[in-house]
Amino acid sequence: QKEVEQDPGPLSVPEGAIVSLNCTYSNSAFQYFMWYRQYSRKGPELLMYTYSSGNKEDGRFTAQVDKSSKYISLFIRDSQPSDSATYLCAMTATSGSARQLTFGSGTQLTVLP
């Protein structure tokens, strides 16, 4: 069993829809949670960074962490065709420079105009 599970999709939604992306994990030591967006043939770029449980909002993006359920979510409001990409969740137990991230396998999202 992988430490981080993520539904690979693909997920296709109409423009303007609310998108929900999710990951589950098994390692209770994880405390720092991230969402990355990866366009085709590009490296991942950091979208959201959260510590421990709770919500964090940034524009059209909201990240939620429920440590009791070992479940994290990314919501995209008013989705745009430019949001079409692969979304990767990532997490780690430590905050120091030595931390390596454990990634989900990514969810491929297409927003149709």
Binding site: M34, G43, P44, L88, G96, S97, Q100
Partner: protein
């Protein structure tokens, strides 16, 4: 530079040949990471550098893989006697230090034929 630069962007090599992949991190970033991304898979950690030393090389899949970093800057990932299962996108990321986010390069797409 402004971002993390990787070269070559694409590499096709014959099985059994050696390859070198290069990463030029953001100037001043002390931490450097190599990850591997196979089709449909998440990012797999390979090795971490702090300055020129590699305190964590636990992700290197075999002794055919090695990496070095010189001058606290450029890093080279070497794969000897390449195998078809080495085909993947090799991503490099750098980080300023504790508390900063990773910045990824666009990767090197390696195909072993």
């Amino acid at each position: 530079g402004a971002g993390v630069s990787q070269s070559p962007s694409n590499k096709v090599t014959e099985k059994g040949k050696d390859v070198e992949l290069r990463c030029d991190p953001i100037s001043g970033h002390t931490a450097l990471y190599w990850y591997r991304q196979s089709l449909g898979q998440g990012l797999e950690f390979l090795i971490y550098f702090q300055g020129n030393s590699a305190p964590d090389k636990s992700g290197l899949p075999s002794d055919r893989f090695s990496a070095e970093r010189t001058g606290g800057s450029v890093s080279t990932l070497t794969i000897q006697r390449t195998q078809q299962e080495d085909s993947a996108v090799y991503l490099c990321a750098s980080r300023l230090g504790a508390g900063g986010g990773y910045t990824f390069g666009s990767g090197t797409r390696l195909t072993v034929v």
